[in-house]
């Protein structure tokens, strides 16, 4: 790792001011992606501005039909939230499937979404549940926010503050882990929302998280595993690497979608 300056922000304004004052600053969440990159000397920010102590980025609220999660909330906090588990166990299960306990105790939902790793879990939930991502500058729908592999709509000095999930009627998440890294090689979040069924796939798309509209319409008339397992997606839109070819991933999408729908009940 190259030398860097650690700075702790006390408020959103303070964080932005500190970032802008630094020559080449970076916001720091749980550090589970950023610090690893720095250790490998693939990133060398002159300063890291820690967002995790900012009060408005913290906390979980479940209120009527929505779940609000502060951006600095750790994966462990979401995984262990009884309030969320009572209304959306698919989400606590998803958070509990991320990495290992050390990663979950540090990594945050804001950091995960800002990073938009194509193998990350949260993007699937955000996309399938049509969550709203609130930032220091405004708010985004999932389609607006996720713009490509490791790409988002965020400006350099824009901070995710919270994520608001509408509670669906049903939801299920089925994750197939990369055996080595344990990230998602392919994972499907299936939800029956107020706007109808939504199917989001992570880990496999060559442009990151994506929806499968054919499966969604099939589920609209017949909410069952059988409705989706017969729908195939094209390998052309899939990632391909030593852990899974495009054809294999495409096949997994159909298989896992069926299992996610079954889990949702």
């Amino acid at each position: 790792m190259y030398a860097t300056n650690y700075q702790r922000a006390t408020s959103l304004d303070d964080a932005v001011a500190k970032l802008n004052a630094a020559e080449d600053g970076k916001f720091l969440g749980g550090g589970q992606t950023l610090l690893a990159t720095m250790k490998q000397r693939l990133a060398a920010p002159s300063a890291v501005v820690d967002l995790t102590k900012i009060p408005e980025l913290k906390g979980i609220g479940v209120d009527g039909g929505t779940i609000t999660i502060g951006a600095a909330t750790t994966h462990a906090a979401v995984a262990g939230s009884k309030e969320i588990a009572a209304v959306l166990p698919a989400l606590t299960g998803l958070a509990g499937s991320i990495g290992d306990p050390a990663v979950r105790n540090m990594g945050t939902i804001g950091g995960s979404l800002a990073n938009n790793d194509p193998a990350a879990d949260y993007p699937a939930a955000v996309m399938a549940l049509n969550a709203t991502i609130h930032t220091s500058k405004g708010s985004y729908s999932p389609e607006e926010f996720f713009t490509g592999l490791f790409e988002t709509a965020l400006d350099e000095d824009e901070i995710i503050t919270k994520v608001v999930f509408p509670v669906p009627q049903k939801a299920g998440y089925e994750k197939f882990r990369n055996p080595a890294s344990r990230y998602a090689l392919c994972a499907v979040f299936a939800a029956l929302t107020s706007d109808g069924p939504r199917i989001a796939v992570t880990g496999s798309g060559n442009e990151g998280v994506f929806r499968v509209s054919e499966m969604e319409s099939a589920l609209g008339s017949n909410w069952s595993a059988d409705a989706v397992t017969g729908v195939t997606v094209s390998p052309d839109q899939m990632l391909s690497d030593m852990h899974g070819s495009a054809e294999y991933r495409a096949s997994l999408v159909s298989v896992l979608a069926g299992r996610a729908v079954k889990k949702a009940g």
């Binding site: 197939f176 055996p179 080595a180 890294s181 030593m242 070819s245 294999y248 159909s254």
Partner: protein, 788 residues
């Protein structure tokens, strides 16, 4: 003393320091003025080095010095050696190319060290390393084993080893084997791949090298399984310093699996640089450096043919293997795919005719050498796969086919050099069948089918050879060293005991198990016994720990030294009690005159030995004895493993649901420790079968260079193992021990792949059998299932 002797499940003495963070590893060692070394490594599989510009780096903050390959040559540092000379079938010696610690002219694998940068801090050394400008002229490379011997293939060492062939080696009687095939009733053929593995000890390799100008003396703390061998080689071949001017210490070492046997370029360069730069230097590998520089394991492709007569007795085995040794010949690389492999191809079977041809080849990959099992996993996999396939093809039960062919009369001479210890292969199989509940298998399989899963069961009856020996025999086969072990037992005046052993524990629990053997002998508590190892200044000599030799060879040396201590103790006690030494018995920490109530405490006798006020005529004071033990044969652990697994046809995921291992390790000192060794070995064997694959891409880049891509087994990949044993002691060492350190890794892969191929109904799957490979196999055989 309670039960702390041989056979007792004693908790490990060393765990107190390990689990409270008090272990002392090489990276924990520091010295006044310590500096830090970082290696610049080749990013190319094959390239000519056009120039190395260190000017900018040398002027950076904290940089003390930079050492390159030319300076090593100018300083008289010798090339690395391969310590086992083998000869090809035409009688010609193996073609060993020069292996400089840092070649200033050519790089031949990704990760090969090129320059060492030394600075006050590791960060400074890393910064400076990034500023060294090396201009490479990239050359074509070859890393895929299947292509290495093709005509016109890129050559790794064209002058020394044309066509990449190091040695075309054979063992066995080719004509007799061909004759067996000519008259066979059945012939079964199989092609196999032994996937390349990365050892991945939890502690990466590390070295702290220092040079004392006042004494003209070097000290090397390093992650070694055999510090005396390291010193010998550093001194006799690499010209670092004569042995009495070089101390090598292997402190606590976090695992080795073979990868820490060898003396690597990094340790040599650090020692050299410590004198040249006049500073102590610490180097600790990063994990990715370990992937690119620790000797890898396995990497064979083979064709095997098995001949059977009409009664289904095996009559012949013919094996053709190509073994990848990487870019340079590592220390024991030549013996692994030859004398540690082809000699075990008879398996547990009476197989009258065997012929093996092994072609050892170079490629632009990390050197390949012994890794847990070293040659025997490759042999066991081959024979146990082809036997299972034979049973399926001939429509007989794999259990019955094995039983029909097991060796039953011992000692048994195979046609491939080995003379097996007594064992009981039938009982090993029967016990394993009972543990797996074979009678319930059909119902379990039906239940799997109801749940949409494919269930399979697979067997593996392995035999292996430990404690490579005797020295004279291995010498005649080409070994450059003897393979005995030494021990010194020091009984202190107060009666406590220090045992100095040439074995080295890096996870094997010697501090406990060796103490148990001593405690048993004199009826003392194990806490009165201390095991000292891993320091050339303390221990007389030693060949170290690998090949499961610490029990059969290391403990045998201790046992011999204990014989001498016991004899002298009896002499002293007899003298003190005015009795005949032949009447003295030692029990519960007392020396008694048999048939009387005369006795003295152990510590009274030991104190007497040191006060020497009343010694028998002609007996020297003190109670310290040494012994060297050179075994008269290898020892032969054997066992049967059964694996039961379930495949999810939709995803191709394999879950191992039951795994049974029944072994014969001869005498067992501590069943808990042995079970631990078996568990770890099976985990690595399952890792090889399902998870671990080391891959190079077409440009010679190592694509699996971190745990993000190289999959080591984790606890949740494994079931709870059922582990049991029988004890048929070997007559060839005093304690009857056969060795247990590698068995799990040797026997497991075939059991898993036999179970998987049973589930899938195809033999066509290579290791590691990843979910995608399994899914593809299902696609090919039953496409409907793979879509659910």
């Amino acid at each position: 003393m309670g039960n702390e002797g041989i056979g007792a499940r004693v908790l490990r003495k060393e765990d107190k320091r390990f689990i409270t963070g008090k272990g002392r590893y090489t990276d924990d060692i520091t010295e006044r003025g310590i500096t830090h070394g970082v290696f610049v490594r080749s990013p190319h599989a094959h390239a000519r080095i056009t120039s190395i510009d260190t000017a900018k780096a040398a002027s950076m903050p904290g940089v003390i010095g930079i050492v390159g390959g030319q300076e090593l040559i100018d300083g008289g540092v010798g090339n690395l050696i391969c310590g086992w000379m083998i000869h090809g079938k035409d009688g010609s010696p193996m073609k060993m190319a020069a292996y400089p610690a840092m070649d200033p002219a050519v790089v031949r694998h990704v990760g090969q060290p090129v320059v060492l940068v030394v600075a006050e801090t590791k960060a400074q050394a890393t910064d400076a390393a990034g500023e060294i400008e090396i201009v490479y002229e990239e050359l074509p490379s070859i890393t895929q084993l299947s292509k290495v011997l093709e005509p016109g293939a890129v050559e790794v060492h064209p002058e020394t080893a044309p066509g990449n062939l190091i040695c075309d080696w054979q063992l066995g009687d080719e004509a007799a084997t061909e004759a067996a095939f000519a008259s066979a009733a059945h012939v079964v053929e199989l092609e196999l791949e032994q996937n390349r593995l990365v050892p991945n000890a939890i502690e990466p390799r590390a070295a702290v090298a220092s040079y004392d100008t006042g004494e003209d003396h070097y000290t090397l703390n390093t992650t070694s399984q055999n510090p005396h061998v390291a010193r010998l080689v550093l001194s006799a071949f690499y010209n670092i310093a004569p042995e009495h001017k070089l101390r090598v210490i292997a402190p606590d070492v976090g695992g080795g699996f073979g990868s820490k046997i060898y003396i690597y370029p990094e340790e040599i360069v650090c020692l050299f640089a410590s004198k040249k730069l006049g500073v102590p230097i610490k180097w600790v590998a990063e994990r990715t450096e370990s992937f690119m520089s620790d000797a890898h394991g396995r990497d064979h492709i083979s064709k095997a043919r098995l001949a059977l007569d009409s009664d289904l007795k095996f009559t012949g085995l013919k094996v053709d293997t190509i073994a990848n040794l990487g870019a340079y010949m590592s220390l024991f690389s030549s013996c692994v795919p030859t004398y540690l492999y082809a000699t075990l191809l008879s398996g547990q079977y009476a197989l009258p005719n065997i012929y093996a041809n092994v072609k050892l080849v170079y490629s632009h990959t990390v050197p390949v050498d012994a890794y847990r099992g070293a040659g025997r996993p490759e042999a066991a996999f081959l024979i146990e796969r082809i036997v299972e396939v034979a049973a399926r093809k001939l429509g007989v039960s794999p259990v019955e086919l094995r039983k029909k062919n097991y060796v039953r009369d011992f000692p048994y001479q195979t046609p491939v050099l080995m003379n097996y210890d007594p064992s009981d292969f039938i009982t090993l199989m029967d016990k394993a069948l009972a543990h797996i509940d074979i009678d319930g298998y059909a119902a379990r399989k039906a239940d799997s089918e109801r749940r949409g899963k494919l269930r399979g069961i697979g067997y593996s009856s392995y035999i292996e050879a430990c404690g490579i020996a005797p020295s004279q025999a291995v010498g005649s086969l080409g070994a450059g060293v003897g393979l005995w072990e030494s021990a010194e037992v020091r009984v202190n005046p107060v009666g406590t005991i220090e045992v100095l052993t040439g074995s080295h524990s890096h996870g094997q629990s010697h501090e406990t198990t060796f103490a148990q053997v001593v405690a048993q002998r004199f009826g003392l508590p194990i806490e009165n016994v201390n095991i000292i190892h891993g320091d050339t200044d303390k221990v007389q000599f030693g060949m170290g720990t690998y090949g499961s030799r610490s029990g059969p060879v290391g403990l045998s040396a201790i046992s011999k030294a204990l014989d001498k201590v016991e004899a002298k103790a009896k002499k002293l006690a007899g003298h003190l009690m005015e009795a005949d030494e032949k009447d003295i018995v030692i029990e519960n920490g007392e020396l008694k005159v048999a048939g009387t109530d005369k006795k003295i405490a152990w510590h009274e006798m030991t104190l007497g030995a040191y006060t020497a006020h009343n010694m028998p005529e002609g007996v020297e004071p003190g109670l310290v004895e040494k012994a060297f033990f050179d075994p008269i044969n290898f020892s032969f652990p054997a066992g049967t493993f059964i694996c039961e697994l379930e495949v999810d046809p939709g995803t191709g995921v394999t879950e191992i649901v039951n795994f049974v291992a029944v072994d014969d390790f001869g005498t067992i000192i501590n069943p808990m420790v042995v079970e631990g060794q078996v568990h770890g070995g099976i985990a690595q064997g399952i890792g090889q079968a399902l998870l671990e694959g080391c891959y190079y891409d077409e440009n010679g880049q190592l694509v699996t260079a971190s745990f993000m891509d190289y999959c080591v087994p984790r606890a949740d990949d494994l079931p709870s193992f059922a582990v049991d044993h029988i004890e048929v002691p070997t007559p060839n060492n005093p304690l009857g021990m056969k060795g247990c350190g590698e068995a799990g890794a040797i026997g497991a892969p075939a059991a898993v792949i036999n179970a998987l191929t049973d589930a899938l109904g195809t033999e066509d799957i290579s290791m590691p059998a990843t979910p995608e490979k399994v899914w593809r196999a299902i696609q090919a055989t039953r496409p409907a299932m793979a879509a659910e």
